[in-house]
Symmetry: C2
Subunit: 233 residues, 2 copies
């Protein structure tokens, strides 16, 4: 895959995909588990529904804005490091030369090549700074629209995921009955979601699907057990 | 910071810190917003408490296991790419030589240095593969215990965060009254949490604190509004 010349565009679309995966994964799991837990403690679907909707609102905003802030922070961080590197190659040129040499020394290159390569790189300030940003600090330039896109992708995917486990409670009055449909529908969706997610990331799809489904089942089971326990207290 | 010779150990501890930040950030926000939302729709603290506990169980397991799986997946991915690189430098040596040259060409080095550096690197298969893993694929070797540590850090931080907004509901019968204490306690904690988180990541602490607090308030407000809306239907 990494020999594909279109690897750049591939990486960009996979960032959006990663956001959607994050949002949908939690959106399918947490509202599902919450609804299951509450169904063990209350009889009326109405309360489960209201709690579920409150959770979807809370979760999508918290995750979406969290994604936005993370994107903004990495942009700020990149810009401040960029400024610093420009400052350093001008005012601490000696040290930066040493650091550049060290990079080539770490690759196992001879002293002669270390010096020659460092001299060439240090001739163009912009290229030199780009080099330091990427290979000394391991920072790639972030996409400026990434933060907003990230927030929307994560938030909407969370809502889309959360509607699935909740929908039976809209139509079935008894929470216990609704739970059965919710479990079946959500486990199928978690399986399908895990299958396609694994296919995209190159992991064994069946194994991935079972893993994702198990996490959902475990979270829901634990929530159900804990809620039942506290209801009896 | 990146000139610190202890940067390696610093990075390791900051991974645990990042996990704790992720878990606590969502743990403070989502159960808080859920409790606030439910308080707008039901009168009894008991239901809010049970829903909150179910949410904490669900969220900590979903996020903790999610962290575990993410860690495992990156390990598997690293190992499979490692195998592939060893295969390629043996059976597709020509192409790998070209790729290594391209790396140095991208740095802006002359053809002569490209060739000399590539020749030196290609002499030691292990070093060459390490080079390709890190600089062609951008992959660092993951810590094998990372997945388990990550799961525990995220899960426990989520629980620790979630207990704060929920605790007033344990002691105060009326959900509306408990909400007031929950809002005050949680907003203070979100502020402090945002402050220290920003200090660690090098962002302006006061600005960071206000941002984190605003996300929590926004999520709680939205959950409250949405739950009130659906309650009236």
């Amino acid at each position: 895959m990494h020999h594909d010349p279109h690897v750049e565009s591939h990486l960009k679309s996979s960032q959006s995909l990663a956001d959607i995966v994050i949002g949908m994964s939690d959106g399918l799991t947490v509202p599902f588990a919450l609804a299951a837990g509450l169904s063990g403690a209350v009889d009326s679907s109405n309360i489960v529904m209201i709690a579920g909707i409150a959770e979807i609102a809370a979760g999508s905003i918290a995750m979406g804005l969290g994604g936005y802030l993370a994107g903004k922070t990495s942009q700020d961080h990149y810009q401040s490091e960029l400024k610093r590197e420009y400052y350093e190659i001008e005012h601490l040129r000696h040290r930066e030369i040493e650091e550049t040499k060290e990079f080539f020394a770490h690759l196992g290159l001879s002293e002669e090549i270390q010096n020659a390569a460092t001299n060439q790189i240090a001739q163009d300030p912009d290229k030199w700074v780009q080099f330091m940003m990427k290979y000394e600090l391991g920072l790639d330039e972030p996409d400026p629209r990434r933060a907003t896109k990230s927030a929307l992708n994560i938030g909407l995917a969370y809502i889309a995921g959360g509607i699935i486990p909740l929908s039976p409670y809209f139509f079935i009055e008894d929470a216990g009955d609704a739970l059965k449909y919710s479990v079946v529908a959500t486990l199928i969706c978690l399986f399908l979601f895990g299958y396609f997610k694994s296919k995209i990331t190159g992991v064994s799809p069946l194994q991935g699907a079972l893993k994702v489904m198990s996490i959902g089942a475990l979270a829901a089971g634990a929530a159900f057990a804990v809620a039942k326990l506290f209801e009896g207290m």
